[in-house]
Symmetry: C2
Subunit: 125 residues, 2 copies
DNA sequence: TTGTCTGTGAACTAAATACTAAACGTCTCA
DNA sequence: TGAGACGTTTAGTATTTAGTTCACAGACAA
């Protein structure tokens, strides 16, 4: 597995790593950049507080240069935008996801590629 | 389109339809079966209250004999179980959904069928 | 005409979510 | 030797979510 850390541990690791090269990644300054209080970030990193709202998590991912979906997943959340996508075709996508359940990441990526190829060639389809 | 009603209107229509044949579908009795107060169901059906928690919506779908995903979608929600599925492969599925965005229901159903055929033939894949 | 059922209106509310402010001890470095 | 930044602790709070209770007026039936 890519890493079995908690959300808070992962943020702290990433932030400390950046801090070593750039003092803008101190807890206080990072908190300000994400628009959260230092208190919250401290507690969150130590796991005493739950992760913040999805938008804050996305902002952190951007600042820390990591994939937002990875952080959101660690936080036990899903990007609200994915739910918006699902709502446009609820039955079809719900069926698909239940069928795709348990598929390897690789196989899912193949399907994604397949769709991309199709749209490159044949327009919408 | 299949129907452009609000969540509440849809529930009321379905419930009244059943009520005509079965007095167990009075507002009060239905509310009790779903484990909600009559007041809540009344307000919900007239749109004055927001739809209840996903589990209640699923229960209603079951009692009213309709697809839960349809009701959940009308309620502007997504089955929490779908989010659980996404969390198992967050990056791959997030990518897939963003790529599949805007695809027709038909095309998504084709993909689902493709996966089902594969698992019928080749095991997990 | 009392009893029982219907749906509805007004007024709350418990619990969860998503945080904050202020003060504290520690360390640095000028 | 004190000014400033560091992360942390204690003690809260505002907002949202997901409902509830109680009382009411109208229909119907015995």
């Amino acid at each position: 597995m890519t890493g079995n850390k908690t959300f808070g541990q992962r943020i702290r690791d990433l932030r400390e790593e950046r801090k070593a090269k750039d003092p803008a990644f101190s807890l206080r300054r990072f908190a300000e950049a994400v628009d959260l209080s230092p208190t919250f970030v401290s507690k969150m990193e130590t796991g005493e507080f739950d992760p913040p709202a999805p938008e804050k998590i996305k902002k952190m991912a951007e600042l820390l240069n990591v994939d937002a979906d990875e952080l959101l997943a660690l936080a036990g959340r899903v990007d609200p935008k994915l739910n918006e996508i699902i709502k446009k075709q609820p039955k079809a996508i719900a069926d698909f996801l239940r069928t795709a359940q348990g598929l390897s990441a690789k196989r899912i990526q193949e399907l994604t590629e397949q769709l991309k190829d199709e749209s490159r060639k044949g327009g919408k389809r």
